[in-house]
């Protein structure tokens, strides 16, 4: 048959979240069998006479998914069968392993065929509980206790179904079994056939057989084949227990003489298959080739539980016939991955089959037999794929793998040519070939023959697998939040999640140890960047996120060239570059090849440069990887290049540890010596005849300058190479010049390469004859905005970049290093870049732990407390007492009824007490909150950007849900999830992201019980809190907090002025401060009059804090809550109109935060205590406050002499920039802003502000009233100019405007009429155009010292002049 190549694989199996960990487990013989987790089936089922076994293989620890990545709504996860999400995850990983999406053939030529049984999977069990069990429960109760009444039964049903989580009728579709395959096709957008097959334990291999046929007939060009099984339902276990097939000794011991049964496992495995010819054509990595498949049934040969060797042999012979091979030949097979279930009947039958088909006498070495079930249990429909992946890995790596627990082999083994092994050994000898068995219940048999790929690597000399280096990554909003995370114990951090938190302030630790954690804590505490020493990276203001550029820098030839790329080649399935070598040509080819390989690997990880450069011959790598040189053509040239024709001068290089000036001075009278490389302030390379170089080196060493003669000769980068140039001139003429994807820098010019191909060729030649000006190159790249340099190769190039940029903030990181495995070093580089704000695809190099943990179990429902009848709850015609009478009659015959009667009687007796305790445990609850100004009209009184009345785009107002309103919603949701109880405290309120009411949006509010009296509530990604519940409010503190009134002063404004002057931006619905009583050094007092707006009461506490800031601080007075430690309520919110006295005590004031405690008191009784309310301060410059508070009357830009306007960027960070952005941009302009690359946004915004303010000032000057920034719409015109029109009905006279921006300055000029105006920013007065006026402008003192030359055209500046014309 046609050879079918396995080009990609992935698994989720017990102990193995991915292919790499599966391989490590297989090589190391890891036993992944454990006790059944309690959530899979209830420990109560375990009984020596019932389900007598409780060990098996489970994937719960690794069963996470990232639904969002596949466009699946996180809220629909709970309703779906988890195996579908696992199948999507594993399929995506298998595709990635095959080289990713772009390597796939056309979508309509890709199929998905998965083995899957129709068992009682967790989703179905939950459906059954809701639909049948709930009904069964109340019907049985009703029959036993006829008098219970409808209401009581409804309570029972509700108590039961509440535990199942919210009903999601829309998710019922997710329970249809074939969706395991269909969802894969759907989410990965594959259009070939997608279906599941069920052949019990043979399912996976039957799926592979189907796939082989789809490929052989040509209907598909690629098929994802495998199996899915995640059913540990107790019914499933019960079947195997009743069959006595489970191991009584609770051990999985295939082919052990005393093997006594199976252990049940679970898992998913998927392989990507292509025709071998296609795979070779496409350059795919081929793990193994499927040479043949065979499928048969036992017919009448077997009973249901005892398999038939005849049927099995049929399938195996069929497969080997398809392969055109004789199974009995002496060298036919090296490894047989058996079905090997460890049941006595199964093992016996299989061994008989093997002896029959493969013969008995080992002519040479015995072949190895194995069964992965000894490590992971029997994964049922996924068993075949677990075996196939294992065998393919063994064939690929050339390693024979061990089987566990087979210390006393089955006697029947002796009659076969197979033996199990206990440790991994290299698989030496001829062609590596393996057979894989999977036999299904009921007599369905399948076999696959695998063979090594035509280009397989030889078996290793020794077997070893390394654990990947562990990496911890933490993110938070600010260093102090990171410090809080790091405050946990070392052991907790080291054992915790590898990736935690979100935010722009990031920390990465490679190979974390307590020592490295201590280093990280110190760096974070100091808040200073730390870049790589001690394997720690920390960046409080990330370079790339702040708009810095990323450069790939390719090393050239260095004294030591020891790349570590074997695992990189293997991991990414990339072609292996040439080995390198001692002679110059091979050395250079090796450097080039390694650079290109690492460039591909980095790109696979989603790390792409903004610009590229290289050192010496590394510049060629940069030219190739960027596309400046067309790589296919280069490959041809390299193949054709004759090393014999290539000669170099007999001159030597020496590296000198000092700057170029010192060297030049030393060689002024030595014309034979030339500087070939100016690498950095402390490294220069000279070139010249060996004697002269040696002399110079000796002299420099005498001067204590570390110097080294390099172990290769080329004469490159000096005129001494000119006589040898011909082959390169020839090459240069034939090179195909392409369009680079990113700018390529020339170290000859210390500038980017030209675009003209003749100029490129010329520079290519000059590069060989002129010095490498690497120091200047790095300085220029830095000047052009590059902040992160990735050294794309091994060696020390990064250290000379560091030497050059010593004082300037930057990151250098090597993508390859002698110190670490290749893939580990790539992860390290990715971590370093992530810390600076890059978003590498870590899933390519580490196990992707999705953010959502899948619940694979469907445990027995537990209400938690006994549900007792409360008389008040009974609404039926019969009282419980009547019901009890009936029950007593029944009790005469029924002990259950008697027990119930006794229980109910007890209830009756303590009824009063019970009413107060009747509440059930809190349940999970998910609701959707519709957020809009229609649903929450009060949001229009909580807008960040005021607009004209009747402004028709509400989005421009930025109506934001107040933090305290969210707090109220979270408390309400918690109460809903715990009927009968009140939210008495809301703790650890974290405000993560603004929630705006326009455009309208839906967010999910999720309540998850954390204990009998505690729930965690989240509102989408916006906020989270823990809510404490109790039947009654606790007693308030006996006396309110005392206030030291001695230092108090009278507030300078009244409560009314407080709002009218927009010290607070709130509208009427949130204006509840009715008295500003007094302000002290560390406190403020006021009266809040309760209204009906949800959250208004607590919001006004924040407003009082705001007043204190306003009254006592001069800068950073704008602040918003980010966290509230705890709010304790001692009673419900008072009726509207009630006066609440509020005391706010300031706990701490730092540059970035305010923290306060507060207390609310009504009529001398404490209503609530608020602790650790933290506001984040925004860097709002005092000069900008008028524009912030009354943007319709004030601008940020200021008038300059000459009638133009200038605005300085007084918002140092993104968060404060956002405040102004909200005020200035309409939603349409905001879209324009967000479409810009991040580094262009600053300047663009400055320009927009300048134009709008120039226009508004012109209007104000001419008698106009309020003009809001959003009313001026600024359009881009050709040539970088802009024009303005009135927005949303605002009438704007005809105007000409011009704008420019540079660094922290934006300038604009506006004049009435059509006559063009111009304003520009120049470097020097000499650049100013004729006819323009100019002025010198300096940054204000709080900004970096900078000077600008602003030039502008003069023109009429008033309405009158315009009209008089």
């Amino acid at each position: 048959m046609t050879g079918i190549a396995i080009v990609g694989m992935s698994v989720l199996l017990p102990g193995a979240p991915d292919l790499q960990s599966y391989w490590r487990n297989l090589v190391n013989g890891v036993d992944s069998i454990t006790d059944v987790p309690a959530n899979r089936w209830d420990p109560a089922y375990y009984h020596p006479d019932g389900i007598y076994c409780r060990r098996g293989g489970f994937v719960d620890d690794h069963a996470t998914a990232d639904p969002a990545r596949f466009g699946i709504m996180p809220s629909s996860v709970a309703g779906a069968e988890p195996d579908q999400l696992i199948a999507v995850r594993v399929a995506a990983a298998a595709v990635a392993d095959a080289g990713g999406d772009r390597r796939l053939p056309a979508r309509d030529r890709i199929g998905v065929i998965l083995g899957r049984g129709g068992y009682l999977t967790p989703g179905l069990v939950r459906l059954d509980q809701r639909v049948r069990t709930a009904e069964q429960l109340v019907r049985t109760l009703d029959e036993l206790v006829p008098g219970l009444g409808e209401a009581e039964l409804a309570r029972v049903r509700a108590a039961f179904t509440n535990q199942l989580g919210p009903a999601r009728p829309e998710s019922a579709i997710g329970l249809v079994p074939n969706l395991a395959a269909s969802r894969v096709a759907n989410r990965l957008d594959l259009h070939g056939p997608a279906y599941t097959v069920d052949a019990a334990c043979a399912s996976s291999l039957i799926a592979v057989d189907h796939a082989v046929r789809e490929l052989a007939t040509g209907r598909c060009d690629a098929v994802l084949a495998g199996g899915v099984h995640h059913c540990h339902d107790v019914t499933f276990w019960s079947v195997f227990a009743q069959l006595r097939a489970l191991s009584p000794s609770q051990r999985s011991r295939p082919f052990h003489r005393d093997a006594d049964g199976i252990l049940i496992g679970e898992g998913t495995g998927i392989v990507v298959l292509k025709r071998l010819a296609d795979a070779e054509r496409d350059g795919d990595r081929v793990y193994a080739v499927i040479r043949g498949t065979g499928v048969s049934s036992d017919g009448r040969g077997a009973s249901l539980s005892s398999p038939d060797p005849g049927g099995q042999a049929l399938a195996i012979r069929q497969a080997w016939r398809a392969a055109g091979l004789d199974p009995a030949a002496g060298d036919s097979i090296g490894l047989l991955e058996a079905h090997g279930t460890a049941t006595p009947a199964g093992d016996r039958a299989e061994l008989a089959t093997l002896a029959d088909v493969f013969g008995s006498a080992p002519t040479t070495e015995p072949a190895v037999i194995g069964s992965v079930k000894s490590m992971i249990g029997h994964t049922m429909p996924a068993a075949g794929i677990a075996s196939l992946v294992k065998a393919a890995l063994a064939v690929h790596h050339g390693v024979l793998l061990p089987t566990l627990h087979c210390d006393a082999p089955h006697p029947a083994l002796a009659a076969t040519r197979f033996r199990p092994i206990t440790e991994s050994v290299p698989w030496s000898g001829g062609v590596r070939r393996a057979g894989v068995n999977a036999f299904g219940f009921g007599g369905i048999n399948a076999h696959v023959v695998l063979e090594q790929a035509p280009s397989a690597k030889p078996a290793p000399a020794a077997v070893s697998v390394a654990e990947p280096v562990r990496v911890l990554r933490f993110a938070a909003r600010a260093p102090e939040d990171l410090a809080n995370v790091l405050a946990a114990d070392d052991s907790e951090l080291l054992a915790g999640e590898a990736v935690a938190g979100g935010g722009r302030c990031r920390l990465g630790i490679v190979d974390p140890t307590p020592k490295r954690l201590a280093l990280a804590r110190k760096a974070v505490a100091k808040g200073v960047p730390w870049r790589g020493r001690g394997n720690v990276w920390f960046s409080p203001s990330p370079l790339l996120a702040d708009g810095g550029g990323l450069a790939f820098v390719f090393p050239g030839l260095e004294a030591d060239f020891a790349p570590r790329i074997d695992d990189v080649v293997d991991h990414f399935g990339l072609p292996r570059p040439g080995a390198g070598g001692d002679d110059l040509c091979r050395h250079a080819a090796g450097v080039l090849g390694v650079g290109r390989l690492l460039d591909s690997a980095l790109r696979e990880m989603g790390i792409t440069p903004d610009t590229v450069a290289g050192h010496s011959v590394g510049e060629w790598t940069a030219m190739i990887t960027s596309g400046l040189l067309v790589s296919e053509a280069v490959d041809e040239e390299l193949t054709a290049f004759d090393p014999e024709a290539f000669q170099v001068p007999g001159v030597e290089f020496a590296t000198l540890g000092c700057g170029v000036d010192t060297v030049r001075e030393a060689i002024t009278d030595r014309p034979d010596l030339l500087v070939s490389h100016d690498n950095s302030p402390h490294q220069t390379v000279v070139c010249g005849p060996p004697d002269g170089v040696a002399e110079l080196v000796t002299a420099f060493r005498k001067r204590n300058v570390i110097s080294q003669v390099l172990p290769f000769r080329s004469g490159f980068h000096t005129p001494m190479f000119r006589p040898y140039l011909d082959p390169f001139l020839d090459l240069a003429s034939r090179l195909v010049i392409g369009r680079p994807t990113v700018p390529v820098w020339s170290a000859t010019m210390a500038a980017p390469y030209p675009t003209d191909s003749a100029a490129v060729r010329e520079l290519y030649v000059r590069h060989l004859l002129e010095p490498v000006r690497f120091r200047t190159l790095v300085e220029q790249m830095y000047r052009a905005g590059v902040r992160a340099f990735v050294q794309v190769g091994p060696g020390q190039l990064g250290s000379v970049i560091d030497d050059t940029l010593r004082e300037a903030e930057h990151l250098t990181v090597a993508a390859n290093s002698a110190h670490r495995g290749g893939v580990d070093q790539l992860r390290l580089a990715a971590t370093a870049l992530w810390v600076e704000g890059a978003e590498p695809d870590f899933a390519r190099v580490e196990t992707a732990t999705g953010p959502v943990r899948l619940d694979l179990g469907a445990p027995l429902v537990r209400i938690g407390t006994r549900l007792r009848t409360a008389p008040g709850a009974t609404t039926g015609s019969q009282s419980t007492v009547d019901g009890l009478a009936d029950l007593d009659t029944l009790a005469a015959d029924s002990p259950i009824a008697a027990e119930l009667a006794a229980l109910l009687r007890e209830t009756e007796e303590t009824a009063t007490l019970l009413i107060s305790r009747a509440a059930a445990l809190p349940c999970r609850l998910s609701t959707t909150l519709h957020v809009s100004t229609a649903a929450m009209p009060y949001l229009l009184d909580h807008c960040f950007a005021p607009q004209r009345d009747g402004w028709h785009d509400e989005v421009d107002r930025r109506p934001v849900v107040p933090a305290t309103t969210l707090l109220r919603f979270m408390a309400d949701a918690a109460e809903k999830a715990a009927p009968g109880r009140r939210a008495v405290a809301v703790c650890d309120v974290r405000l993560l992201r603004w929630l705006t009411g326009a455009p309208a949006t839906d967010v999910s509010v999720d309540v998850v019980p954390e204990g009998p009296d505690q729930v965690r509530v989240t509102v989408g990604e916006h906020c989270a809190a823990v809510v404490e519940l109790a039947v009654d409010y606790p007693a308030p503190p006996a006396t309110p907090l005392a206030v030291d009134t001695a230092g108090e002063t009278m507030p300078a404004v009244t409560a009314r002025e407080f709002y009218d002057k927009r010290i607070m931006f709130h509208g009427p619905a949130f204006q509840c401060v009715t008295e500003l009583t007094a302000v002290g050094v560390r406190h403020v007092r006021g009266v809040i009059t309760v209204n009906e707006t949800p959250g208004a009461l607590l919001d006004n506490v924040g407003q009082l804090l705001g007043y204190w800031m306003h009254a006592t601080q001069t800068t950073g007075r704008m602040a918003f809550p980010v966290r509230i430690g705890r709010v304790d309520f001692y009673g419900p919110e008072p009726a509207p109109g009630t006066d609440v006295r509020c005391l706010v005590r300031i706990v701490s004031v730092t540059e970035t935060d305010f923290e306060a405690d507060a207390q609310l008191v009504v009529d001398g009784v404490v209503l609530a205590d608020i602790a650790c309310w933290r506001d984040r301060r925004f860097a709002v410059h005092p000069d900008t406050e008028p524009a912030y508070r009354f943007p319709e009357h004030n601008g940020l830009a200021t008038r300059q002499e000459g009638g133009w306007f200038a605005v300085f960027e007084h918002w140092p960070d993104l968060a404060s920039r956002e405040l102004y952005l909200n005020k200035y941009l309409s939603s349409a302009e905001r879209i324009g802003y967000e479409q810009l690359p991040p580094h262009e946004r600053r300047g663009w915004l400055l320009g927009r502000i300048a134009v709008k303010d120039a226009v508004r000032n012109l209007l104000w000057d001419n008698g106009s009233g309020a003009v809001f920034p959003a009313e001026i719409f600024v359009r881009d015109e050709d040539g970088g100019e802009v024009s303005v029109v009135g927005h949303h009905g605002f009438r704007l006279p005809e105007m000409a405007v011009s704008v420019a921006h540079s660094h922290e300055l934006g300038v604009s000029i506006a004049r009435f009429g059509r006559a063009p105006v111009a304003i520009t920013i120049k470097h020097t007065p000499a650049d100013v155009d004729r006819g323009h006026q100019f002025a010198v402008v300096h940054n204000p003192p709080d900004l970096p010292a900078r000077q600008y030359i602003v030039a502008w055209t003069d023109g009429p500046a008033s309405w009158d002049q315009e009209e008089s014309e």
Partner: protein, 101 residues
């Protein structure tokens, strides 16, 4: 304790200080630097770092302590295998020779 051992202890402490300067790790990394600490594997020092170290050593102990010449006698493998203790021995030896001359 002999005088030489004592002075070696001092030299080690001073070298450790210089290495922390070179690595800009002052007050941050408490990683112990001992005589056994390897320049390449443990400290991951690169050529350019040695240039700074050479300067610091000469500043402290005079021009006779010449790291460049010390390293000149070593091939690449020896440089990679270099430990802090080797440098301590070299400095102690040089200072002793100077004192004797």
């Amino acid at each position: 304790m002999t005088t030489t051992e004592a002075s070696k202890g001092v030299i080690l402490a001073e070298l450790e200080n210089m290495l922390r300067t070179v690595l800009s790790e002052h007050g941050m990394d408490d990683a112990e630097i001992t005589a056994e600490t390897s320049f390449h594997d443990d400290l991951e020092l690169e050529s350019i770092d040695l240039v700074s170290l050479a300067r610091l050593m000469a500043e402290r102990w005079g021009e006779a302590v010449n790291l460049a010449e010390f390293l000149a006698e070593k091939d690449l493998d020896e440089v990679i295998a270099l430990r802090v203790g080797d440098l301590v021995d070299y400095v102690a030896g040089t200072l002793l020779a100077e004192a004797g001359s």
